[in-house]
């Protein structure tokens, strides 16, 4: 293990955090979730619901990435930002392709629940 001869209080990741950043991240995230709650309670059509919930989620996650995690292109954080950008497509594609594949499969193979319930009567 290497020795650590420098002052840890001067490390860029220690210096980076500020109270204002954390207040903003918390307020924006909480506000986005309250907005999402009211969107869901208003029971809009499915596509509208999906778009508006995705929008509020994106706002919350971007605020957290920039303000909680402090991701930017500075020398101290650049590789965290790059690795996140490289991982996000895997995250989205792994969920998206699975959902798309199974919804297509269900449409072709699964009985319609409405027909099943009418047969049971």
């Amino acid at each position: 293990m290497g020795t650590h001869h420098y002052d840890p209080t001067q490390h860029p990741e220690v210096r980076q955090g500020t109270a204002l950043r954390y207040v903003l991240a918390t307020v924006i995230s909480a506000g986005a979730m309250v907005a999402a709650y009211y969107v869901a309670m208003s029971k809009p059509p499915l596509v509208t619901l999906l778009e508006e919930l995705a929008g509020t989620l994106l706002v919350a996650l971007l605020a957290q990435a920039a303000l909680y995690f402090g991701l930017d292109i500075s020398r101290a954080q650049i590789w965290k930002s790059v690795s996140l950008v490289l991982t996000l497509p895997l995250f989205i594609i792994s969920i998206g392709i699975t959902v798309w594949a199974f919804s297509s499969l269900y449409g072709r193979t699964m009985p319609d629940p409405a027909i099943m319930s009418s047969m049971a009567m």
């Binding site: 020795t3 840890p8 979730m33 996650l61 690795s83 991982t87 995250f91 959902v99 629940p113």
Partner: protein, 210 residues
């Protein structure tokens, strides 16, 4: 430009005799960040499984999210987990000035709110199971419990980590090693808030409203 002294002498070192040391703290925080990204992919698998099972056929006669989970209670949990992350993050500002009291205070408040969050989650799951909707009743319920328990386990291990940091800080103070540990703990705790907002929007709100 001319120099008074020759550049090369018999004592000039042409190479470094010791390897250049990597940044002690950054190597740890970056390695931990890569772990968090891999953890995010575990959650991606759980979200994908949940999405596949989120239909009446897989629920096997049991209710889906709209009949099981309360969006308003989920919002309370969201506020609690954000409050907890805020407390730990503010506490970490004590690292700048070596303020041990601020660090420990932030960890204590964050840990208490984290424990409250877990209690909310566990009591909800126990109530669902008591109502006949346990994890073994259907594929949908198995996926729902797995997703919620995986997140709660992360929070639980975070609480253990917070307790361990009390001992580390009491013994060694805010040295470089403990600073690296605290920065990783802060990232881990913030990551739990990121995962939770996805769970809340996807399971509680989207699942509960369609």
């Amino acid at each position: 430009m001319h120099s008074e002294k020759p550049i090369l002498t018999a004592k000039t070192a042409l190479w470094a005799y010791e390897g250049e040391e990597h940044d002690f703290i950054s190597t740890r925080t970056f390695g931990f960040w890569l772990y968090l990204l891999s953890d995010a992919l575990i959650f991606a698998g759980l979200f994908a499984s949940y999405a596949v099972m989120d239909n009446p056929m897989s629920a096997f006669g049991h209710p889906l999210a709209d009949g099981l989970l309360s969006a308003s209670r989920g919002l309370e949990q969201t506020f609690i987990v954000l409050g907890s992350v805020f407390a730990v993050s503010i506490g970490s500002l004590g690292l700048k000035s070596g303020n041990k009291g601020l660090v420990l205070g932030g960890l204590a408040v964050g840990g208490l709110l984290g424990a409250l969050f877990i209690w909310f989650g566990v009591s909800d799951m126990l109530a669902m199971a008591a109502a006949g909707n346990g994890p073994l009743e259907s594929g949908y319920l198995s996926c729902l419990y797995t997703l919620l328990i995986t997140h709660a386990l992360h929070m639980g291990f975070g609480l253990l980590w917070i307790l361990a940091m009390f001992i580390h800080i009491a013994r060694w103070g805010l040295d470089a090693m403990n600073t690296a540990r605290l920065l990783c703990l802060r990232m881990f705790w913030q990551f739990q808030a990121s995962v939770w907002v996805i769970v809340y929007v996807y399971v509680y709100l989207f699942g509960g409203a369609h």
